[in-house]
């Protein structure tokens, strides 16, 4: 399947069955418990202002973590935590039925940089103005539960 895999158009769904990784800074207990933290799934102001309003992830089959880490440039040493999530699991994350949120999805988000073929984003985490916060915190907590972690070496 991955032999013919390539980055799709911006906003196009990432094929099912793939694993995406998010790079994060270590939370307090990450090394001890191997558990992801909710803060790792928080949209930054920059994310919120981006076109897709997505949480940056990488399709592992195209851009493995050690390559993705290079895009952090000077801060790459800080990004040692790798959060692995299956695209299917992300799409199946429950959310409160009454909440006005679309289900989560993983879509391609091409970058105009070498070796960045695997760049994608998790969409559906952006809370519209005046929408309740709880459903989005719910999604964040459930993503943290789903993620399988690994820790990259310092260099």
């Amino acid at each position: 399947m991955t032999d013919n895999l390539s980055c799709g158009e911006k906003g196009e769904p990432v094929p099912a069955g793939l694993v995406v990784v998010r790079l994060a800074k270590l939370s307090m207990d990450a090394e001890e418990t191997g558990r992801a933290h909710e803060s790792h799934f928080t949209l930054s102001t920059e994310d919120q202002n981006s076109e897709l309003k997505s949480l940056s992830v990488w399709v592992r089959a195209l851009t493995p973590p050690h390559v993705a880490r290079e895009f952090m440039e000077a801060k790459k040493q800080d990004y040692r935590l790798v959060l692995n999530l299956n695209v299917d699991d992300i799409r199946e994350v429950n959310y409160l039925p009454e909440a006005p949120v679309p289900p989560l999805d993983v879509v391609w988000d091409p970058l105009d940089k070498p070796d960045s073929d695997g760049h994608a984003g998790i969409v559906g985490l952006m809370r519209p103005n005046n929408a309740p916060k709880a459903p989005y915190k719910n999604l964040r907590a459930r993503l943290a539960q789903l993620a399988m972690t690994e820790i990259l070496p310092l260099s």
């Binding site: 790792h40 928080t42 907590a141």
Partner: protein, 205 residues
Amino acid sequence: MHNSTWKHDNKDLHTALDDMAPSTRLEQMDLSRPLRRKSISVTRVAPLSGVVKVLFSTIKTNISTVPQALTVGIADPLTISNSVLDFTFGGQVRVRKLQKFLDSSTRSGQITDATRRLAWLAWTSLAKIASRKLLVPDAGIGPDGQVLFSWNRNDHHFEIEIFPSGLAEIFYLNFETDEVWEGEYRIGDSFPLEISSKLPLFLIV
């Protein structure tokens, strides 16, 4: 009783005490009689409105064995782990881990010193209303300099997110039943009343 200003820099009470030269400390506290370092032990620390009351007892001394109480004004009460000494040993280790995590996050520029103080105040306030039996949370730093404390036990999840503005968002989730609750408050103000029904889920047993 004597009043003095206690200078320190991001150290917990034990460390701060250890670092203070006994003679200097005694001079600052204006004790009438000098005591050797080995003759002093801190037997009780009680945080009270930014003032730490330190009760000294004297041992191995030929001067006096009568405990002496001192009230020491803390220049910056938030940087003192005023909850450390009330926890069990295991709890103390985690409290210190939390403090170190916040300190290192500040040094690396992920959060401001003001946010670190807010987060510490939020934690100590929560611990206080839970009678020092609240589990020490996991902690993470958000992308915009916010601190997020989280507790997970069985199906229960609880978090408090402290923003640099001083606002905090509280969230509870039961992963099994989908029950959720959320609240907001300003650090330093009273917690929402509903919190009292959630904290017992995360107490040290």
